[in-house]
Amino acid sequence: MALLQISEPGESAAPHQRRLGVGIDLGTTNSLVAAVRSGVAEVLPDERGRAALPSTVHFSPDAITTGHEAAMLAGAIRSAKRLMGKGAADLEGHWLAAHHRFDTSGALPGFVTEAGPKSAQEVSAAILGALKARAEATLGGTLAGAVVTVPAYFDDAQRQATKDAAAMVGLPVLRLLNEPTAAAVAYGLDSGEEGVIAVYDLGGGTFDVSLLRLQRGVFEVLATAGDTALGGDDLDNLLVDWLLERVGVDGVPDGQARVALKELARGLKERLSDETSVPVELEIGSHRWQGELTRETFERLVAPLVDATLKPCRRVLRDAKVAREDIRAVVMVGGSTRVPAVRARVSRFFEREVLIDIDPDSVVAIGAAVQADALVGNRADDDLLLLDVTPLSLGLETMGNLVEKVIPRNTTIPVARAQEFTTYKDGQTAMALHVLQGERELVDDCRSLARFEINGLPPRVAGALRIQVLFQVDADGLLTVSALERESGTVASIDVRPSYGLEDGEIERMLGESMERAAEDAVARALAEQRVDAERALEAIGSALASDGDRHLDGSERAAIDALAGAVRQAVSDGDRDAIRAAVEALEAGSARYVERRMNASVHAMMAGRTLSEIDDE
C-alpha cells in the first residue's frame, strides 16, 4: 500500500530501500534493457558489451537460446512481434508466413520449432526473460518490475499479448508505455525543451508518430497515429527483392539464403547512409551478379514506403489541431531513421530540420527506464507525469452491422465512458454486446475485441429497460467493459481478452512448461515477496490509522480493520504464503472504503490549500 503517497508524493514507504525498476524496449528486430543508475539512465549491455539483444529466439527440446547466439542457429524465430495478439486468420497473406512454418491447430498460431509450436507471446517471453536475467545480473538484485514499451498504435490484443509474455517469465509489468512517449521523455528531460514536439518512430516492424506537449515535467500526448504493419524491415525486404531481380532468381529463397540476403541488404542500407554508391557482388546457386547500388536507386525503391508514413503524420496534425509551424522539434526514433532519404522526406514534410543527435536505437529504452524508476518510487522529485491517449476508437456493435464509438481515438487515458442502451423487443431478457476497436463504421472493418452477454434481464416492453455499458481504459491502454441494468441490478463484465488472447490458466501452463525456474527457489521467493507485501500493507494502514483513523472511521469500522490487520500479522508469523495473501486481500477489501475516504479527503485538502499564485511560484 502507498497510503502515504498522496500527502508526500516523493516518498516511498521505505526510502532507504532502493527498488529496481528497468525499462525494456521490446523491439521487432532488437530489444534493449535500460536502468537508472546513480541518477543516470543508461542501457545495460551484456557481458560482452553489446547493448542490443537481437529479438531472435531458438527453441530446442533442451534449451531456449536468444539473441546473437540464436541468430546463428537454423530455424531461429525472428520478428515475432509482428504476430503479437494476432490469430490464425491474420496469418493469411502475412509475409511472415512465407518465412516460418506455422501450426494453426491451437488457440494461437504457433511457430513450428523442434520443441513444438511456440506462440509469439512465448517467443517474446524468452526475450524478456533474457533481458530480465541480464538486468538482475548487472544490477545485483531482483527486479521490482519493468516498464515495457509498445508501439503507440498497438491495439488492445497486442498490448494484452505483451503483458502475457511478461507474465510468463514472472516479470511484473509496472506499465506498458508507448514507444514515442518513452522517446519524448528521454528527449525532453535531456534537452529541457518545452512546447509541442513530434516523435517520428520508424521501428523494425512498426511505424508510429505522436505529437506531445512538454511542459514542466508533464508529457501530454495530443495525438498519435501509425501503422503496425509498416516498418524498417520493409526497407530491407524491398532491397532483397531488388537484389533477387538483379541476380535473376525467381521467388524467395528459403531459410539461410534469405537470412543472408537480408543481412546483405541491411549492410547496403547502412553503408548508403554515408556513401552515394556501393559495389555489390552476389551469388545464389548458379546465378551471379556484379554491379553497384546507388543511393539514388535505393531512395527510388523506398520512396513509396517513406511516403506511406506521411499519411499518419498528416492525421496527427489534424487530430491534434496543431499547425506545422507550431511544432518545436521533430525527434527521430528507430534505426531506419538513419536512412538519409527518410530524414530528408520527414524534414520536408514538417518544414524543419529533424533532430538526429540522440541515439535513435536506445532512446526508447532510456525513456522507459526513467519512468520505471519513478514508478518504483525512486524519483525524489515527483514531477514526472505522462498523460497518454488511446490510439484507436473503441465502440460497440449496433443495429445494421454498424459501430457506435464510445471512446474516440486520442482520448486521454485512463478514461471511463458510459453509454446507455435499451431493449428493442418486448420481453427481451438478454442482450449481446460486441466490443470493437477501429475507426471504420462497419463492424467487419474493425477489430473484434470481445463478445459477451448480459442475461437475466426482467422481461419488459421494448425500450423500457436501460442498460448502462461502461468502458474503462486503464493507464496501460487496456479495456474493461461492464454492463449494468439498474432495475434488477443485473451485472455482467469482461476484461477484454480477445478471442485469440490467452486465458489465465494458459499463461500458467506456459509458465510451467517454458520456464526453467527452479521450483523450490520460486516457492521460497514467493513467500518472501508475500511477506514483504504484507509488511508494507501493515505499515501503510498503521500509519494511516494513526494519522486520521479517528476522523474517517467510527468505532465498529475501526475495530473491523484492526481485526483484519491482526489476522495478517498472524498469517505472517505462521508463514503460509496463500494464507498471507488471503489475509492481505481481506485487509485491503475491508479497508477499501476507509482508504477511498481519506484519499478523496487528501485530494480536496491538497487542492483547496493551493492557489494559482502558489503554483506559479514553484
Binding site: G145, K311, A416, R417, A418, G463, E588, E596, M606
Partner: protein
Amino acid sequence: MRLRGVVHDLVVDVDGAADAARPDLSADYFTLFDQPRRFSIDEDVLAERYRRLQGLTHPDRFASASTVERRWSVQASSFVNDGFETLRRPLKRALYLLSLAGVSVDEETDTAMDAMFLMQQMERREALEGVAGAADPLAALTAIERDLESARAEVAGEFDAASARADWPAARDAVRRWQFLDKLGREADDLGARLDDD
C-alpha cells in the same frame, strides 16, 4: 441490438457494476477545477489545475500501491480527465451547464428548429458535398471551415449571454443549433482527412 443510445459525457458511478468505489472528488466539475459555474472559462487556470489533479490521482503515482488504491486511482484519474475534457471543449461545457441546470437536450426526439437555420444548414451541407468536385478542394474546404467557425462563435456567444441571465430556453436553443454546426464540422474534418490522404 438497439435503436438508440445516449452518450453521457459524465463518468457515471459503477457501484453495482464491479463493486467498485465511486471517485467522489467533487460535486461537479466546475468545483473540482475551481472555476465559477459559467460559460466563459480561464483556460490557463483550467490546464494548471488539471495537471495538479492528475499529479495527485494518476495511476503512475500508485504503481506500487495496493489494489484498492490503484482502483481508486484509475477511477479518480478518469474522472479528472473527463472533467477536463468537458470543461475545455466549449460545446461540451455548454451541454454540461445545461445538464446542471436540469435542462435536457435531446437531439433525436425534438425536431422543431428554426426554418431559416435549417435552410442555411442544407446550403452548408451542399457546399460540403461540392468540395470534392471543386477546382481547388482544399481551398473550398477551408472556406467552409471558416464559415462554420464563425457560425459556431456566434451560437457560442448567444449561449454565453443566455446562460448568464439564466434564460435556459434560449440557451438550449443555441446549443441545439451548435450541435448541428458541430456535426457538420466533424464531417468537414473527415473530408479534410480524406483529402489529406489522397
